[in-house]
Structure formats: C-alpha cells, structure tokens
Amino acid sequence: MHLPETTLASVLLVGATSGLFAATAFASAAPSPLTNGDLVAVRAHKLHVSPGNVLEDATLLIRDGVIMQVGDDLKVPDGARVIEGDVVCAGFMDPWGSLGMNGPATVDMSTNAATRAVDGVDPYLHPWYRHQALAAGVTAVRVQAGMVSARGGVGAVLSTAPAEDLKSMILLEDSNAAAGLGLSSRGNPTDVFARISAVDKLVSDINSGRDYAMGLAKYAHELEAWNKTIAEAEAKLEKDFKKAQKDRDKEIAEAKEKGKEFKEEKYKEDKRPKPPKPDAEDAVMARVASGELPLVVTIHRAAEMRELLKGTARFKRLRLVIAGGTEAEAVADELAARSIPVIVRPIPLGANRPDEYSGHDLALAGRLADAGVRVLLGSSGGGSADLPLLASLAIGHGLDRDKALAALTTEVARTFDLSGELGSLRPGRRADLLVLDGEPLLPTTTVRYALSAGRVLISPDSRD
C-alpha cells in the first residue's frame, strides 16, 4: 500500500539532495535547527495515518518540516535521518488550552468579540512549559483570551514547539470566536433568568453580526450599481456635451432676447451610497454568522444549551462548538443532528470544582460519542500536558479508543479548519508527530520522540 505522493518532482528532489546530508543527519538527537532540506524518515511497526487507518511496517518521509510520503513500501533515501519506533501517530492537539498565553489574558473578564488571543501570547515563556507538553505528546494548543469572559474574542492555534519568534508559534491566528454562558466566575450571572437572557444576548449578537455582514454586502452592491450608473451617465454626458453647449448658447441668446436672466439648469444625480460604520466586534460576529469562524461557547447547563440551540437554529451557516457541556447528554440528539462538536474535559473533580460542573461525569465523552455527537477532548486551560492522561481516563469510562484519538487529532483539525495542515499523517501535512512505545493514549505508553514541523524536539536522549 502506498499513499499518494505530493509530486513526483519533489520525490526525485529528495533522492537528489539526500546525499548532501549524509554527514550531518545523525549529528544530534537533541533539538536541531531546521535547515532547508532536512530529511527525516520515520519507520514504525504501526503507523496511525488517522484514527482507524493504520499502516503496518510503514515509513514516513519528512522534508522541510512537511510530510512528503507515507507508505509500507517506501525506500529510505540515503542520508535521511532515520527514527524508528513501535507506533507512530499525529501529534495531539488541545482544543481548549492556555499554554503559551500570558496568564492574566486568559482570565481577563473585559474581553470582547474583537479581542485577539495572539495579543496575549507570550513567546518568552520559559521553554520548559512547552517542553512538558511536547513530552506528553501535545504539539498544538488552541488558546483564547478571556476563557471565562462573556465574549472571549478571536482564538488562535499555537504550536507547542519552543520559539521566541511569535510568528513561528502561530499555526492559525483566527481559529474561532468565543463566548462564555452561565459560568460561575466573577462577573457572570448565575441566576437562571440572567443566564437565559445571556444566551439571548449572544443570539442577538450573532444576528447583528449577520446584519452587519448584510449591510456591508448591500453597500458593496449599491456602490457597484452607483459606480455603474455614474459611469454610464458620465459617458452619456460627454457624448452629449457638444449638444449641451449648443443648447446653453441658444438659451443664453434667448434669455437675452427676452430680457430675462439666464438660469442654469440644475444637475442631479444619485448620492454615493454610504458604508456602514466600522465595528470591530460586529465584524467578528459577521464572520461567525457566515460560518467563516466557528463559535466556541463555553456552556454547561441543559437549560441554556436548549435555549442556545433553539436560538441559533435559524443561522444555517453558524458553526457552533460547545466547550464544557457538563449536561450535554440532554441535548445529544440535536448536537448529533447539527454536527456540533463538544469539547469535553474528562477530569476527576474534587471539592473545589466550579458550580457549573455539578453534574460532572467522567463517562460524558463516551456517552456523547455513543449518541453520535462529535467529541473533542480539552484541558480547559488546566494543563495541556495532562491531556493524554485525561483522554485515557475518558477511554476507561467508555470512550472508544479510536474516537479518543480522533478527539485529540483529526476532529480538532476539522473543527478549526486545519485538516489540510494538521491532525493526520497524510502527505502535505505539517510533520507534527509522535513516536510511541505502545498504542496511543494508553496510560502505559510513553512518547519516545516528538516532532514539530519535522524538528525532533523530544527524543530518548532529551528526556529526563
């Protein structure tokens, strides 16, 4: 079996240049700077291309940080750095994390729809924190400013590879918009009526976003029509100019003859249409209403979820994502029917659990998945490094293992429009992958190698 190659030419190029790297390829097992043309071959007994799609005794070739070829009949080119292991799968992604963010930005209650998570990203965070997440197999995290705020603003997906250069950390700078409903945190109402009206407020915000988008579209349309009308009028006026001059001369002469004052004929034309007043928050909600940005709503109680589902049913393009969803089982059918993913945090909660987690159950992820709901697993900002362990808890409480793997890889990529870049080990994807000594998401499995964009950042030598 052999997965499609990106291009034949690039493969030939791999062969041609590989010899150059023979001398340096094995130089170091520690994090090595990515040089143009770095070639890595990963060989495994089992290679999870995507959950449920497993190749045996397969090889994966990486060049310039991108997966070039995957197959069970590939020859390792000369000079490639070879990494061998038992099991290989895509790097895990935390769809509900905070790693890489400056702390206060994640708990800021004053955020609005236009606040940007990338402004809260701290590239100077000590590399150790990211190293921890990588060592656990988490290679990407979706972050959010104002995680518990009524409007969280525009989220981002970050790589966990340590880097001081902000640009290289950001995988997607506008992954989603966000809202929090009925959270018990400071500043949010917990009264049931207040909670329901907060849902209605969100729905009306989406609606004004849609109106804003429609206003812009209408303006663009009217402007185009106006430009056309004016251009036509101008052409006609220029064409008739000589006649107009003659008429004018004639009229002046006539007026003179009659001893009257010459009156200039008033020119009339349609007014140029006015653009709607720019509004940064409406602009984000417009992208939400049009389905361009998914809307992650942190919400736990059934009553509010019902209200939210009811209120948003008319926005056919809206892409809702539920985060938390403690009581989501009550609306599982509708979530399944509308293909709304739920980001579950499968964590044993002690005495300090927030109020909204009162109905918390470790079996939630498994039950939702059984009901046909798309399930994602997230840390809720509680530490992305723990996420693989939390996933194994969810598996222990009934979540299918392939679905758990999907919940950390393909489903995350799909939800945040990154399927073309991340989440699976197909050619053309960014080489964020793990080499494991056992099946993924088993508590007994450890990460032997973690690669981010083809760079080996965790290896048996670098582990402590």
Partner: protein, 486 residues
C-alpha cells in the same frame, strides 16, 4: 520676581534663561542671584567635562545661565565681574540626567486610561522632597513622565530641580507622550493591545470625519471650536496636510488645526513626529506590541522604550528596531529555571551594551539606587568609567533632545555643575555644591538634613526631638544601611 503670565512658559522654553527665584524655605537652597547675562565662574581642582580629557586646575565660565568657556586656569580668564566659586579641593562634573521618572508629581497616575490630553505640568509639585533630594544626588535634569499604569498617559516635561513654580523649573515642555504596552490594572495584555490599537484607529476615524465634514460643506467642527473658545489664530486657523511616516488622512489640509479635538491633539502630534513617545514595557512580550504601535503609527524613530528589568530577553527585537531604552533601577536580575530552580544572574546593562542599544540608567528615586550608584554598579560589572557616566549624562541627554545642552561641561551647555569631594561614583564622596544655570543652588555645609543624618547636628528649633536618643540611633543606623545618604 515671579511673573504669572502664560507667555512666560514659552519664553523660558525658547531661551532657557534663568529667572530670578523667590526664596525657599530651606536654608541650604540658596536663593538665586543670576539675572540674565550675569556671570558665574567655577575653579575646581579637576574639571571632568565628559566631552574630552579631564582638565587639572580647570575653570568653567557661565554667562546668562550657559557655559561660555571651559579650560585650564592658565588658558581661560575669569571675567572680572563674575562671581567665583573657588574650590581647588573639589572635582567638577556635569549634572546627571534622569531620563524618565514619575517622581516629583502630586501622583503618578490618572484613573483615565487613555489620557493624551493631560500634561504633567499640572501635577508637578515644585516643593516635593524629591527635587530637594535630586540636588544631594547630583541630578540636575529630570524628565517627568506619567506613571506606567496607563494606556496613553500624559505629555511629560523636562525640568531642573530648582524653582518655586513649574514654569521656573522648566527645561523643555512636551518632552513626549507616555504610552504603556503593559496592562493597566483591570486589563490584560490582550485587551491592552486592543485598546491601544483602537486609540489610534479612533484618531484616524476622527480626522477622516473632520475631512468628510469639510468636504460636504459642513462646518460643525468650526462652530464647535468657536463655541468652546479655542485658539483659531495664526497657524491654528490654518489647515496643514498630514505629515506622517505611518498612515495619513487625505485632505487634512482642509481642516484648520485648531478644529481638531483637543483631546486627540497630542496623539496627532505623536503620529506626525512632533513629540516623542516613551513606551513602557513590563515584560519582554510587551516590546513587540510597543514596536508594532510605534512602527504602524510612524513614530518608531522618535520612540524610547522604558523597560522593566525582565525585558532584556527582547534585546534582539529592540536592537533590530534601533530604538533607545531607559533601564529599570534593578540592574541585576535573577532568572530561575522553573524545573531545576537553578538561578542565573543577568547583568542587564551588559546585555544592552553588547547589543549596541543606547541605554540610560534610572533611579528608583533620587536617593535610593540613585544615578551615581547605578553607574557605579556598571563599573563594578566591567564597564569603563566613560561608558558608565555616559549612561547617566550624554545618553539620556540625547534621548531628551538635549545633546550638548545638558550632561557635559562644554561651551553652549546649561551651566549645571556638580562639585564633588572625590569620585562621584564612590560612596565616600559627596556632592558639596550644585550649580544650576550659573546659580549656586546647593551647599552641603548648610544642608541641615544631611548634617542631622550624618553628623548628628540638631537643627535649630528641634531640640525636643534630639532628646529622644532612640530616634537618633535609628536614623543613624538607617543611614549606615543605605551606604551613606547623598
């Protein structure tokens, strides 16, 4: 003679003339004598001009507040009518320059987050103890700026620690607008960045609205300006095309400058490069935002970053942007590895020196971690004397646009001279006299506070306090702990 007229401020700004002072309550602050054109001369054992070799047995001649001649006593003749400070046992240095401080004000911050329309002039307290203490520490030029807890702060000003009114203290008005890239309390970095960007977008929208109004024949802004009685005379009655390296608004020449919202005006001055920006960064990640805001709005070339000690990590970004920085008073920072808890000490001025970034040292206040102490710390960490002294004289002077005017003893510079009993970077020497603009303004032999603190001399009329020995012992102990008060 103290004049209370608005034109006074402008007049001083233009001429830097020293005006006659009213007397001060403290006896060591000598009342000033120099009228405009009056002459003053200092003869010192060694004159360190900081603009060339030191001069043994040197003479400094000051006329009308400015230095007119510096040289060896053999070469420079002291005018017959000059008042002479003859101190062959002392060394002369230029007064030190504080590049940025929030001291000396009634309070450093406003509750209004975006307040470009405020001016520290209204908050500076001429009789603040801070200014008195500046003299003891040899600080003669001070850039007073609003505190760091803001989004857009007030317009600052450069003053000297001498004078009973802010006008008398003035060296340079409008020394720049204070901006913070670090969150004001109640904000986070994400919302601070959002508000900061929105402030400049707001300015742009306001200007575009004005142009739009003018184009459609609406004179609302003029009527508003007339109603509010704003200045619409001269240049302010005329429009001027927007001059900016960042963004521009087409057609601004249609709008008389006097009609621009007064609250927005200092921001427009900033964007058009008429005043500099002092941007505070509280963490290395703030540096990126500070530079982005400065770059996008065209004032990067007139930006100085005011840095928290953690910001050394962003030195590469700063070097690339080519801006100058003011360092925090903490010069040695301890970085702790979160895993191993191993500690590493970073000497911060060294980082900036190695990257070729111009930096000024700053005091926490005038007496603790004062400028001389900071410079001494730099020498202890391997700086040359010239490098260490430049960071408290020439470098801050050029940041303030006062190159050659303060921070050196050379012809044309303000007559600000320190007379020290020895090396000013040594804890055992003292500032014995301070001359500002050719006026003797400090004489340690009459400084009752220092005498009380160091020699136990009880000030007149305070006997009752002296009878409580505990208090006195405490005071002495404290003075000893601080390594000598200057």
């Amino acid at each position: 003679m103290i004049q209370q007229s608005t034109s006074l401020l402008q007049r001083i700004a233009k001429t830097h003339l020293a005006l006659t002072l009213g007397l001060l309550g403290c006896s060591f602050l000598l009342s000033a004598q120099a009228e405009a054109g009056e002459k003053y001369a200092v003869r010192a054992g060694t004159v360190h001009t900081l603009a060339g070799d030191a001069i043994t047995n040197g003479v400094i001649v000051i006329e009308g507040g400015r230095i007119t001649a510096v040289g060896s006593a053999d070469d420079v003749k002291i005018p017959w009518d000059a008042e002479v400070l003859d101190v062959p046992h002392l060394e002369a240095y230029p007064g030190f320059v504080e590049a940025h401080t929030s001291s000396g004000m009634d309070r450093p911050n406003e509750s209004v987050a975006v307040a470009p329309f405020l001016n520290v002039r209204d908050s500076i307290d001429p009789v603040a103890f801070y200014f008195e203490d500046c003299l003891r520490s040899g600080v003669t030029t001070i850039n007073v700026q609003q505190g760091n807890a803001c989004i857009i702060g007030a317009v600052g000003m450069v003053v000297k620690p001498r004078g009973m009114t802010v006008e008398e203290m003035l060296v340079r008005p409008r020394s720049g607008l204070k901006i913070s890239a670090a969150p004001k309390s109640g904000m986070s970095r994400a919302t601070q960045a959002q508000t900061l960007r929105a402030t400049f977008t707001g300015l742009r929208t306001h200007l575009e609205d004005l142009v739009q109004q003018k184009r459609s024949g609406n004179d609302y802004s003029r009527r508003e300006a007339l109603y509010q009685g704003r200045d619409l005379s001269g240049e302010r009655g005329k429009g001027r095309a927007m001059m900016s390296k960042g963004w521009t608004v087409e057609g601004l020449e249609l709008v008389p400058r006097g009609e621009v919202d007064e609250k927005q005006e200092p921001l427009l001055d900033l964007v058009e490069g008429r005043i500099p920006a002092w941007i505070y960064c509280g963490a290395p990640m703030d540096v990126r935002l500070a530079l982005e805001i400065a770059r996008d709005n065209g004032f990067l070339g007139r930006t100085v970053l005011v840095l928290d000690d953690s910001c050394w990590k962003a030195a590469d970004l700063i070097a690339e942007a080519g801006v100058s920085v003011v360092l925090d008073s903490t010069l040695v920072r301890t970085e702790t590895d979160p895993k191993t808890e191993e500690e590493e000490e970073v000497f911060i001025p060294g980082v900036f020196k190695d990257k070729g970034i111009p930096f000024a040292l700053s005091s926490r206040n005038s007496s603790t971690e004062s400028l001389w102490f900071q410079a001494a710390m730099c020498m202890a960490h391997g700086f040359t004397r010239a490098e260490a002294l430049a960071a408290i004289t020439a470098t801050p002077a050029s940041m303030l646009g006062l190159e050659g005017k303060v921070g050196c003893l050379c012809p044309g510079a303000a007559g600000n001279v320190l007379l020290t009993s020895g090396d000013p970077l040594s804890v055992t020497s003292f500032v014995e006299y301070v001359v500002i603009d050719g006026n003797l303004v400090y004489d340690r032999s009459t400084d009752i506070r220092t005498q009380h603190l160091l020699e136990g001399v009880v000030p007149e009329g305070t006997e009752s306090h002296a009878e409580e020995p505990e208090v006195e012992e405490d005071t002495r102990k404290k003075a000893g702990d601080e390594g000598g008060s200057r």
